[in-house]
């Protein structure tokens, strides 16, 4: 095969190949967009929800408990319903404070920024890097 033949054959196949690969994947993209339109019902509550979680605990009876702010992984956006989320937060606060959950009353919650300690982030990064 001469250089000219090689170039023309190569360019032709490259063109055809890329067009086919792109068109198949673009069709799949459209299919996925259609799927979103048909099957995905965003939870209305999610939109009205405040973008952050701040947990305030209030004593029901005699115990006086300070307002606690807990960073919660961004579960609120992932469609977990609010009831479940509240239950999880209550359980976590109860465990940390060593108080029965029945004595806690979550008044409001608000997500705070990503304030994981530096060592925490470094640990996560180490784990990811070690999996190569």
């Amino acid at each position: 095969m001469s250089l000219a033949e090689a170039l023309s054959e190569g360019l032709q196949v490259t063109g055809i190949g890329l067009i086919i690969v792109f068109s198949v994947l673009v069709i799949l993209m459209l299919v996925m967009m259609a799927m979103k339109a048909i099957f995905y019902k965003p939870n209305k509550k999610d939109k009205t929800k405040e973008p952050s979680e701040k947990v305030e605990t209030a004593p029901i009876s005699d115990t006086a408990v300070d307002v606690t702010t807990v960073p919660v992984p961004a579960a609120a956006d992932s469609g977990i319903d609010e009831g479940t989320l509240l239950a999880v937060i209550t359980a976590a606060v109860a465990a940390v404070m060593d108080t029965p959950a029945s004595r806690l009353n979550i008044k409001s919650y608000r997500r705070i920024g990503d304030n994981a300690p530096a060592w925490n982030k470094a640990g996560v990064r180490d784990i990811i890097d070690s999996r190569f």
């Binding site: 490259t14 190949g17 198949v24 994947l25 069709i27 799927m35 961004a74």
Partner: protein, 420 residues
């Protein structure tokens, strides 16, 4: 007794080594050929040991490289022609008359019989079944645009095809036709089973070189990709934090594999063997009703096939077909393929970043090569170096799994153009 001893000695491997060298020199047409016939067998054993070293000490894809290297060792041990101890006869598979089933059944060794699984295209689709079980298409369904990055990363496949043809036109001693060029190009898909599937059909004599190049470069992705990713992106682009992905419902995850199979079949039927098995595995996983099957597919079956595939692919590497200038050409072109695929993904990522007003981090484009999940981890790692609180991993998994579909489609294109 002495006679018995002498007759035994004349049948040893050492005697075979000397005998084969003599026969080789007598039959050689050039100085290079006679050199290969003398040092070929010992050199192949040394190469096999080197690959074993890379697999065990350096841990380069050891799950595959170890059986490949040992297969290479087994098929290059010195044996007399027609010895019944020979485990692999590549000539039964690559002869001009096609597959010699009769010979394989009558005289075939263990590796000949196992190699039928490669030659008949059984192992790569079964590996895809296991990959399907292990793949989560959720991040892709949540962000459909990222599938385009999986297509862009096939750029290397086709440019390398072009490169291989140009190289063989320019350099005497390298003689790649379109079939060989297609098999080399597919290395750029960064997908071992796909590369093997295409090569066993289009250019079976290049199988060992292509498989070894593909798997070695996949192991080297954390070294190959970051410089290219940095070359094509600015520091600011690498720091982009992407919006969190929406949750994906179970219905979507169930419908997706079925639709992909149908769409791919309608356009590129040759890709269905691979894509279909991938999607079967995925549907089995997402359905949640066949736990026993998915456990087998992703563990026992996958491991069995990996052993068979590795050892037989390695065994096809014989001195006369492996120690050639073309193998060197494949090693170089394979690297070029990887670089172009990475660049293709990153450049399209950059374009999408501009079009969306900076919502897409171009680094995730590099994950469009289908080495799952290695390429996504590289995107995560490079992104996090610029912005320690950035998590690109799930965003990069979208293009990453799209790359698996993309390279299977690219393989289908080559097969439909050249296999008939």
């Amino acid at each position: 007794m002495i006679e018995g001893l002498l007759s035994f000695l004349s049948r040893t491997g050492v005697a075979a080594l000397i005998e084969n060298a003599k026969l080789g020199i007598a039959a050689a047409s050039s100085g290079f050929d006679s050199l290969i016939s003398v040092i070929g067998t010992p050199l192949m054993i040394v190469i096999a040991c080197l690959l074993l070293y890379l697999a065990i000490v350096k841990q380069f894809e050891p799950l595959l490289l170890l059986p490949i290297a040992f297969g290479m060792l087994l098929s290059n041990l010195p044996m007399f022609a027609n010895s019944s101890a020979i485990m692999m006869h590549p000539e039964y598979f690559n002869s001009a008359d096609g597959l010699q089933m009769g010979e394989i059944i009558k005289h075939g060794g263990l590796l000949d019989l196992l190699y039928l699984g490669v030659k008949l295209g059984i192992y790569p689709p079964l590996i895809f079944l296991g990959i399907g079980v292990m793949t989560d298409f959720g991040p892709l369904i949540a962000n459909p645009k990222s599938i385009i990055l999986g297509a862009a990363a096939q750029l290397g496949v086709f440019t390398t095809f072009l490169g291989a043809l140009v190289l063989s036109a320019l350099i005497p001693g390298i003689n790649f036709g379109v079939n060989e060029a297609a098999s080399i190009g597919i290395i750029g898909g960064a997908d071992g089973p796909t590369a093997i599937y295409v090569t066993k059909t289009l250019a079976p004599e290049l199988l060992p070189a292509i498989a070894i190049a593909a798997y070695s470069y996949m192991a080297l992705i954390p070294v190959i990709q970051p410089p290219i990713m940095k070359l094509f992106t600015t520091k600011k682009e690498r720091q982009i934090v992407m919006e969190q992905l929406r949750p994906v419902s179970k219905t979507e995850k169930l419908v997706f594999p079925v639709i992909v199979t149908i769409v791919v079949a309608l356009i590129v039927p040759d890709a269905v063997t691979l894509v279909g098995m991938l999607m079967l595995g995925n549907l089995a996983k997402e359905s949640g009703v066949v736990d026993r099957l998915i456990d087998t597919a992703q563990n026992s079956l996958m491991n069995i096939i990996t052993i068979f595939l590795g050892i037989t692919v390695g065994a096809t590497a014989k001195a006369e077909t492996f120690l050639t200038v073309e193998t060197l050409g494949i090693v170089v072109l394979g690297l070029i393929a990887f670089c172009f695929s990475t660049a293709g993904g990153v450049i399209l990522g950059k374009i999408m970043c501009k079009l969306t007003g900076g919502k897409i981090n171009p680094l995730i484009g590099s994950a469009g090569v289908s080495a799952v999940p290695m390429a996504a981890r590289v995107a995560q790692s490079v992104g996090q170096k610029e912005n320690p609180s950035n998590f690109l991993l799930m965003h990069a998994m979208g293009p990453n799994v799209a790359g698996v579909i993309g390279s299977a489609v690219a393989a289908g294109v080559f097969l439909s153009l050249f296999a008939h």
